[in-house]
């Protein structure tokens, strides 16, 4: 596969020069092919207080293959994190995103890095979508220095300031007011960008969401609230937690759109629509109908409150990667083998990143006291007996 995707990952450069062994097959220049293709989304959009966008999404071979690769990377990354957790290299909480990759990938396709994204604790893939590297992910998960938060944040605290990814938050729902604050700052500086504040179906019942939504609508902020509805708030199904599980309608006076969150193209279309809407008319709610294969976190098997049939059914019928794979194959954009090769490459990339992350050292003990305050205040901090450790809070 000579014309591979010229990605920034350095470990991939070796793969560019693969022998053209099967010279018989035609080499399609898929990586740079931007011939537009129009594809229909799986289901039409359902809207509330607004006109739904069209089902026909413009895309191109390059984008579809990017979707495939990115989602395969995210899937592989999450599965690898699962193994690392079971090997006790990752501790604490680990919330995996596999099954929901289409939301992260489709959203990125519709926006720029100037737009802000903020999400809750299921943030590994969103971080990667924003440009985070695998090394930063695995190192942070294992608490090493090379992590994106220097090992001090952990799974729930991934941030990437230079690409406007604002985390990474542990307390359910608290990120939505933060997200509306980001939108406020965008309006204040008049820079024509929007904020996507993601939350789950469990968080949709938080009061602060409605407070923030009210303020955003009042002040016409370019805030897009995205409910990643995977139908379970940890162990509680949505019908047991919400009187009205039509989360896209919960905004009342704020328009909403329900989207098939397992279809990356639908997500892309919806986010594009939402961005245009938010810049002109203020907040909008997107409900992404999606599903997570793993349990809520690594300590949750995920099968006590839902049947294995349900999980495997979704995997067979609605899996986001399989959907894109079928699209690619049916439109003849790549062969089976090429797609399998991509998956193999991705697997290797992940393994390499894990190996590299394992070599990164744990943070220095002095790092315990750094970044508490923005400027050193001379405030002293002591160990438990007030004699052992003595450091100045920085």
């Amino acid at each position: 596969m000579a014309l591979s995707y010229l990605r920034s990952s350095s470990s991939r450069s070796a793969n560019l020069l693969r022998p053209l062994s099967s010279a018989a097959s035609l080499r399609r220049p898929i990586s740079t092919d931007t011939t537009p293709i129009t594809i229909e989304t799986s289901v039409p959009f359902t809207s509330h207080q607004c006109e739904a966008p069209s089902r026909s999404v413009e895309t191109n071979p390059s984008e579809l293959l990017t979707f495939f690769r990115d989602m395969a990377l995210m899937r592989r990354m999450e599965i690898a994190a699962d193994s690392l957790y079971k090997a006790k290299l990752i501790r604490g909480f680990c919330h995996l995103y596999d099954g929901q990759e289409a939301v992260a990938v489709g959203m990125e396709a519709a926006i720029t890095k100037k737009d802000c994204i903020i999400t809750a604790y299921r943030d590994h893939c969103t971080f990667v979508g924003r440009g985070g590297t695998l090394l930063e992910v695995f190192a942070e998960l294992m608490g090493r220095q090379a992590g994106c938060s220097k090992g001090k944040g952990g799974s729930m605290h991934f941030y990437k300031k230079d690409s406007n990814f604002y985390g990474g938050h542990g307390i359910v729902g608290a990120q939505v007011p933060l997200g509306c604050g980001l939108a406020f700052a965008q309006k204040y500086s008049k820079d024509e960008s929007v904020t996507f504040a993601l939350y789950g179906d469990g968080a949709a019942n938080q009061g602060q969401l409605f407070e923030a939504l009210n303020i955003s609508a009042l002040w016409d902020l370019p805030a897009i609230l995205v409910c990643e509805n995977n139908h379970y708030g940890m162990g509680t199904a949505e019908w047991r937690a919400a009187k009205s599980p039509a989360y896209y309608k919960r905004g009342d006076y704020v328009p909403g759109l329900k989207v098939d969150g397992m279809d990356a193209l639908a997500v892309k279309q919806a986010c594009k629509f939402a961005k245009e809407h938010a810049l002109k008319n203020g907040p909008i709610i997107l409900e992404m109908d999606t599903y997570r294969y793993h349990g809520h976190s690594m300590s949750d098997p995920g099968s006590t409150y839902r049947t294995r049939d349900e999980i495997s059914g979704i995997r067979q019928e609605r899996d986001p990667i399989e959907r894109v794979r079928k699209l690619v194959l049916s439109h003849d954009l790549a062969t089976e083998k090429e797609l399998k090769d991509i998956e193999k490459e991705v697997r290797k990339e992940v393994d390499d990143a894990i190996a590299q992350a394992k070599e990164s050292p744990m943070p220095e003990p002095s790092e315990l006291f750094s970044n508490v305050y923005a400027k050193g205040l001379g405030a002293e901090s002591f160990g438990a007996d007030r004699k052992e450790v003595r450091a100045t809070l920085a």
Binding site: H157, K161, A174, G181, L182, Y188, A374, G378
Partner: protein, 400 residues
């Protein structure tokens, strides 16, 4: 890091240089006029004008309007009330830096429930002075989110007690984001509002939140008590890169004082020497400062010489000034308005005991409010907080 903590004498003064609070990276706007940072003992650092007047307020009781605080010898200064001083500080900072904005309930068109933001909405517009709905949790969160991008919001709680609703945002997001993001984000918010026991406002409107917030890592807390330090602390808080909680007191808004005309800020981590003395160190802050000064008059008549320090910085404590004082007097009395359990006084007692135990001739006495909800009835409310007579008795006991 095994730095030997000399604590009292050898440690460098907790930086009072102006560069600490002045972010010189803001080159987009015209630089402010020259300003000075005045330390509590009157020494001015890095000030080309060389003001030399001692700035000791030896007698500052709320009822007296003739404050003997010497103004700068170069300019006459102007007289104003504490809430006007806060407003002046806020207005000057908003003019200086367009990233500063104010959000809170009724801060805009209404002018602020205690008039601290009066006139600002008219001057700066609705996008910079924002009237929020009654939704503390979310507008505090929004302020913090905005601060993550570089804006500098000043979030007002109409009464500090209402900020309990925003505790999650203040604790987790405001205090900890700098750390959990590995230093990527700073949160330069100022959270301010009146608290403390007022005049029969009832239990829920007489709360002292400094005791609840003091454990949150990553925030700074300061309490203002005079128009001079109110303006100075407000300005320093806005310029600080850290989240600062500025505690005002409901009963102190109408204090009058003459303050300098020129630009000045007060160091956020420094305590203020109100009255130097020899016999006992009295540590206090906010409204209790005035009760202490009232008691000090009585004590002076009785022959005692108390040293009164307004600690101002509730987190972190200015152990340098406090330590020097303890070294001199060997007796400490803490007078605070927090409740006995888990208040600022409790933490201060622990900090002094651990650091300066060798210098103490007597156990530290801490006078705090009673551990009860503040009652409505006037007589009961009076007994809830520390009164001057109790301070006099405590000093007499300490100095036996």
């Amino acid at each position: 890091m095994a730095a030997i903590f000399q604590g009292v004498g050898a440690a460098a003064p907790l930086s009072s240089s102006p560069s600490n609070s002045f972010d010189s990276n803001k080159s987009v706007f015209s630089p402010p006029r020259s300003f000075s940072v005045v330390r509590s003992d009157g020494i001015v650092n890095l000030n080309p004008k060389g003001r030399s007047a001692q700035r000791l307020i030896s007698n500052a009781v709320a009822t007296k309007a003739d404050s003997p605080a010497a103004s700068s010898s170069s300019k006459p200064g102007h007289e104003l009330l504490l809430f006007e001083a806060l407003q002046e500080g806020l207005e000057e900072e908003m003019e200086r830096d367009p990233r500063v904005c104010v959000m809170g309930e009724d801060v805009g068109h209404y002018g602020g429930s205690y008039k601290v933001t009066k006139g600002l909405a008219k001057r700066f517009g609705d996008l910079r002075v924002l009237d929020t709905p009654i939704a503390e949790n979310s507008f505090t969160g929004m302020g913090i989110g905005a601060a993550m991008t570089g804006l500098r919001p000043v979030i007002e709680g109409m009464n500090m007690g209402f900020l309990l609703l925003a505790f999650n945002q203040i604790s987790n997001n405001c205090g900890m984001l700098h750390y959990t993001s590995g230093g990527q984000f700073t949160i330069p918010v100022v959270i301010r509002g009146p608290g403390g026991v007022g005049r029969q406002l009832g239990a829920e409107h007489s709360q002292r939140l400094e005791s609840y917030f003091q454990s949150i890592p990553g925030i700074q807390m300061v309490a203002c008590s005079t128009p001079y330090n109110a303006k100075g602390l407000m300005k320093a808080a806005i310029r600080s890169e850290n989240p600062v909680i500025l505690f005002e007191h409901v009963l102190l808004y109408n204090l009058k004082e003459r303050i300098p005309d020129e630009d000045y800020i007060c160091n956020l981590e420094e305590a203020e020497m109100v009255r130097p003395g020899e016999h006992v160190t009295i540590l206090t802050y906010s409204r209790m400062r005035y009760h202490v000064m009232q008691a000090a008059k009585t004590l002076v008549n009785k022959g005692y010489d108390p040293e009164v320090i307004d600690i101002r910085s509730l987190k972190p404590f200015d152990l340098h000034t406090i330590g020097n004082s303890v070294k001199k007097t060997h007796r400490v009395l803490i007078v605070e308005e927090c409740m006995r359990t888990g208040g600022i006084g409790a933490s201060l007692t622990a900090a002094i005991t651990e650091n300066f135990n060798d210098y103490l001739d007597a156990p530290i006495m801490c006078l705090s409010s009673q551990d009860v909800p503040t009652p409505y009835a006037g007589t009961l409310e009076e007994v809830t907080v520390v009164q001057p007579a109790q301070i006099v008795t405590a000093v007499e006991q300490l100095c036996q």
